[in-house]
Symmetry: C2
Subunit: 144 residues, 2 copies
């Protein structure tokens, strides 16, 4: 028997931290817009990177295509995005935020920044950089 504790198990800590951090922000998109997490992510991607295809969102966000598909459908019902058919490749459709979608995106973006700032408030620039590098690496968001 050694003294390895559940709180020494990084995946456990990551899970609990992720849960808490998301939970608190969730109220922003859920209570006001009835949005699910994947919907918020899709909205963010479209708001941040402009129009793109569902496939690209899957790749960028590391999300399964069924989740994205349903999120897109939900956002469409909410009139937050519209689908533009692609003449070159009729399988694809380019997704584009509507005015309402953009408005919502900007509002949530501001909240997100506030939330993020609060989470990192007590850490120095160096520490933040370390945390970010660690999370990116574990998440295998290589970007390098």
């Amino acid at each position: 028997m050694n003294n390895f504790d559940i709180e020494d198990f990084t995946p456990y800590l990551l899970n609990r931290a992720a849960e808490q951090a998301s939970l608190r922000f969730q109220a922003q998109y859920r209570d006001t817009y009835g949005m699910l997490r994947t919907e918020w992510r899709v909205l963010f991607h479209l708001g941040r990177f402009g129009e793109m295809t569902a496939r690209s969102i899957c790749d960028r966000a590391g999300t399964h295509k069924t989740k994205v598909s349903r999120a897109v459908a939900a956002l469409e019902r909410k009139r937050f995005l519209k689908r533009i058919p692609d003449d070159q490749d009729k399988r694809c459709e380019t997704l584009q935020l509507t005015r309402a979608g953009k408005t919502t995106f900007y509002k949530l973006l501001a909240e997100a920044q506030r939330h993020d700032a609060a989470l990192l408030a007590s850490y120095s620039q160096d520490e933040r950089a370390l945390l970010r590098r660690f999370l990116l690496r574990v998440a295998e968001i290589s970007r390098a």
Copy 2:
């Protein structure tokens, strides 16, 4: 428009990191024992802290009681734990790992340590301490 990117949003990074970190370890308990994450957590708590009540696991693990209830039922079916009725308070039952439960716990514990070591391999003691403090704090596992 500012340059706040999705990868600057800590809850997002936390989620993806947590997903990846858990995913890779999941094979250990899922493929071999058909266990779910909550089952593994309950097993860990009982293995680490000895017999305890479902309620205590809920508190310690920050898990909802229905999830724990189902995990306990599943572990019982697998003959990894047994329930000891409490004579003082007939509502409670003390949960206790069986021999098979303990064996499995020790095997998974070793895997968990290996997995954790791999995750943190390239970080110094100071860096690890920072990461841990950060995650504990965000997860609101105060312990202080």
